[in-house]
Amino acid sequence: MRNEQRAFEELSAYLDGEARRPERVAERLAHDPAYAREAAALRRLSEQVRALPAPAPRPDFVARVLSGAQATLARPARIMVFWKPALALAATVIIVLGAVLYARVPDTAAPVEQPAAAAPVVLARWENDEEIVDALAQLAEAGADLSFFEPVPFAPEPPDESLAATILESVVAAAWDIDAVSPYADARDTEALIESLDATDTNTLRELMGNSANGGRRS
């Protein structure tokens, strides 16, 4: 990143109270009139965006929401049979990439094709979407190939979106829609999670990755 760009980014974050080194920005602002003018322009810009009028919802908005909420409650559970395997998978959570996990899998298991890309190991519990978010974001930024994972109940074809975002939405959406408790809910961190992986989950993962490697879809 160019210095100029970085300085602008820092200034923008500084105005939000989020700069990494606010003292540096403050010092430059005190001595660099052009930088100070830029800060003033950004402040003005923020004011203009914040001044945009917020529309008032129609008076019956709350009533319509409550009516819709109650109607939803009255409907039977909408989990389709087709998605049961995906949801069951989401319940145990497993987003794992790369060879590190494979190194932990017993050698007696049947060999499966691995995805082409090797990447850091990442596990996440569906129950904790923040971990999933962070894990997938890190993977995507690292250029990892996440294509083996394809539950995707709610995002069937977004070719213009990043694959990671698609996967993420799917996992979290699936998580929202099922009642299940992750057996890893008490794991304190990723390492603890890796250590606690049991044979069932490992096999599920293998099946998932094998299906993907063969170009097949789960059903």
Binding site: L42, V49, A137, E169
Partner: protein, 188 residues
């Protein structure tokens, strides 16, 4: 009596108190509709999306736990719905984003507009400039400027790193500033 916290209301709603959920809706209806409006550009669509956001929130009530900001959960749902809406609109070729040069600008032959008219004109230009941003830049800017959320909360909502939020907000501001300058908005 002090107003109940969001999570107090959620806890009561989880116990089946519909009035507590109604209070949550009243508390957030305007910010959520506003966010949706600035994301999708249509008041009718924005209200529909906001309504659906609250309905989904109600459906997910049992799974909400007070470990994060309540607005993170609510705006996370609204954000997903608006992105899906934009995606569908793009597939149907109904993307509402317009080039900024299509926004009506002041006619130099006309007398200078009064202060109110200038304000309205600036509002329109800012609106158009926001609509012209890419959705991933628009959403972080709106969550920051309209909702006042910190970068960590925005990162949770849009599912990326805090550093990515920081750079997207800066880029959004840069583009907004350039577009407005091109459209003749005066800066201090």
């Amino acid at each position: 009596m002090p107003p109940s916290s969001d999570w107090d209301l959620v806890a009561r709603a989880q116990r089946g108190e519909l009035e507590a959920f109604a209070e949550i809706v009243r508390r957030y209806e305007r910010p959520v509709v506003h966010f949706c409006l600035r994301m999708v550009g249509s008041e009718q669509d924005a209200e529909d999306l906001a309504q659906e956001s609250f309905i989904r929130l109600h459906r997910y009530l049992a799974r909400l736990t007070p470990r994060a900001s309540f607005s993170t959960a609510l705006f996370g749902i609204a954000r997903n719905l608006t992105l899906n809406h934009l995606r569908d609109a793009r597939r149907r070729g109904q993307d509402r984003a317009q080039p900024l040069d299509q926004a009506p600008l002041a006619d130099p032959a006309q007398p200078p507009p009064d202060a109110h008219a200038r304000l309205r004109e600036t509002e329109l230009l800012v609106t158009r400039a926001i609509e012209a941003l890419a959705p991933d830049h628009r959403e972080v800017l709106l969550l920051r400027e309209l909702q006042g959320l910190d970068y960590a909360s925005i990162a949770k909502i849009v599912r990326c790193r805090r550093g990515t939020v920081k750079s997207r907000i800066a880029r959004a501001r840069e583009q907004l500033r350039l577009r407005l300058a091109e459209a003749g908005v005066e800066w201090p």
